[in-house]
Symmetry: C2
Subunit: 350 residues, 2 copies
């Protein structure tokens, strides 16, 4: 069926976001209960004051995870956390998940129990109910598809599209660590593959490895913002890297931004390890993915409330769209932000 | 990680339903908004009179579909329909879906467009909005994961657990055709593989092929029942075969049943083609899957309203649990229903 086509366009000519845009550009929503469809961290549905938030992700072995160094329990935990992060990114609270898995006969019941132990641990920690799913066989690797459902108030949902000129740009936690954790795991895997007698050297990298293998979603920040009566004007979670998410947010809001290299929050271990790998730490923070922190904007009048918050860093401000999307380096030079994603993480001396 | 285990239990020792039961038996629901979790066609969530229905399915190339004879447009359509069927089986109406796909570079943009043309056609026909999803790469085949969301009134949702003694057992449409459609496709594939010069002979099997390749979900029946003010005491959709679904329904309701072989609704093409394949037509109706018809029970007082309905057949009645789950053959003999699924479909002369 597939080979019949004479006009063949390769998918990589569009990229993931281009493909989604192409496939969904003609959607006409039919239901008044569909408040927000494709194009944000989650869809919003419902009729009244209280709305439901729905988001879904699919993870495939060999593409999203490598079972040679990812323990199944951690994988289950992380798979849930990635989805919950998308719910929190709408300024909503997750309540339910469904979990579908496809398994080959390579997996034993004990292996599946490990995976579910991680899934249930995340459900416990984030207070969500596992309410359904599908279990099926796979001819090759493990596939995990999770849908998360949350609730929020219609008027306090934060979309990608609400940022306005002069808003402050904030990020939670610190950036770049999950990416460097992955670099360490990949390096040690390579050493092991080259010589199975050499044991992996993972010592001293606890923080980076934990950020990669067992990330957390920022439910605490959503609760904290509610406590401070702050409703972000826009929000997105940082799964593909800060640059990529900033570009999504600015394009959806039809604004520009200036962010400051010196403000990017990084753990000292990120700075040190990036240098060990001959990488620029700022590039890791900007383009390394899987941090699952939140990127959001607030009205500048909220500055006092946030300026000394240990969990939140103000990294810049929103500008008019004409100003473009820029990163200002420590020496005052301005560079256009590019969503290179992980491709950008070439070694400096390459 | 997986190979470390000394105690290895193979997944096929439990089977799919055993595995789900094992993995979910200790769930304690935390949210009052979770009205029904794992264990029915869909989960039910919400707070008020109007509730949300959530169901999800994952389909994998090589396990659930074979692209050598399934057109991508049909596949997209069917993938949506399977999920919607689970929503209708709760006596609810579907309003939204999310669609996640994983693709290898074997697929061109034109192929993906075909798949989505089928997805959008089903959205149009069943009046649902595509509101989100995920698009990712796959190292091997195509994976499709769909979540459907619907709405219903809390007091008219039909669970698997509500059937009671003397209720009438009803099925919609006819059974066995999708299974026989698959047999024809598999036969012609084999002929073609053995000798590529022989063209597939699919003539005269339009109904069976359509039931396999482009099934429909019974939204019409849900609307019809509402119009007749009938609320089924229990309901389930027939995806794995009537026997298997009847057993689910009876076990969940803690009842037994007597169903009559002579009442099983079958198209004449099913009877004819089953014989051509040396199969028992009743076995095809009982154990052939993918019909996506509805199996439901109603109070016996509804008999008058349903007895002459062309879309609904009364095939038996519910008994006390002690009576067991039985099929009564044309010669009056009683056999225990077994959920053999497709394994039961051995040729009669084997």
């Amino acid at each position: 069926m597939i080979e019949d086509k004479n006009n063949r366009t390769e998918l990589n000519e569009l990229g993931e976001f281009g493909l989604i845009e192409y496939l969904t550009k003609n959607i006409e929503l039919k239901h008044t209960s569909t408040i927000k469809g494709v194009g944000d961290d989650a869809a919003i549905i419902g009729e009244g004051e209280k709305v439901r938030v729905v988001t879904t992700d699919m993870l495939l072995e060999g593409v999203h995870f490598d079972l040679s160094y990812v323990p199944l329990k951690h994988l289950g935990y992380k798979a849930v956390v990635c989805n919950l992060s998308d719910v929190y990114a709408m300024n909503a609270v997750a309540e339910q998940i469904t979990v579908s898995i496809a398994l080959s006969n390579r997996f034993s019941l004990e292996a599946v129990e490990e995976l579910y132990a991680g899934i249930y641990l995340a459900c416990e920690k984030y207070n969500v109910d596992l309410v359904g799913g599908d279990t099926t066989s796979s001819l090759s690797g493990l596939v995990i598809s999770i849908t998360a459902i949350g609730t929020g108030k219609k008027e306090t949902i934060s979309y990608r599209s609400g940022a306005k000129n002069n808003d402050l740009i904030c990020v939670t936690g610190d950036l770049g660590a999950a990416y460097l954790g992955l670099q360490i795991l990949e390096r040690e895997k390579k050493v092991f593959m080259d010589n199975p007698n050499i044991q992996p050297d993972l010592g001293g990298h606890d923080y980076l490895l934990e950020r990669q293998l067992k990330p957390e979603a920022r439910k605490d920040v959503i609760n904290m913002l509610a406590g401070m009566k702050i409703v972000p004007t826009s929000m997105i979670d940082i799964s593909d890297g800060l640059s990529s998410e900033l570009i999504h947010l600015c394009r959806n809001s039809e604004v520009g931004c200036n962010v400051y290299d010196e403000k990017l929050p990084m753990d000292t271990s990120v700075i040190q390890t990036a240098r060990d790998f001959n990488l620029d730490p700022s590039v890791c923070a900007l383009n390394g993915g899987e941090d699952y922190e939140l990127l959001f904007t607030v009205d500048m009048s909220e500055h006092e409330k946030l300026k000394n918050n240990p969990d939140i860093t103000i990294i810049g401000h929103i500008t008019e769209a004409e100003g473009g999307m820029n990163i200002i380096t420590r020496d005052g030079r301005q560079h256009e932000l590019t969503a290179q994603g992980w491709n950008a993480l070439l070694k400096k001396d390459d």
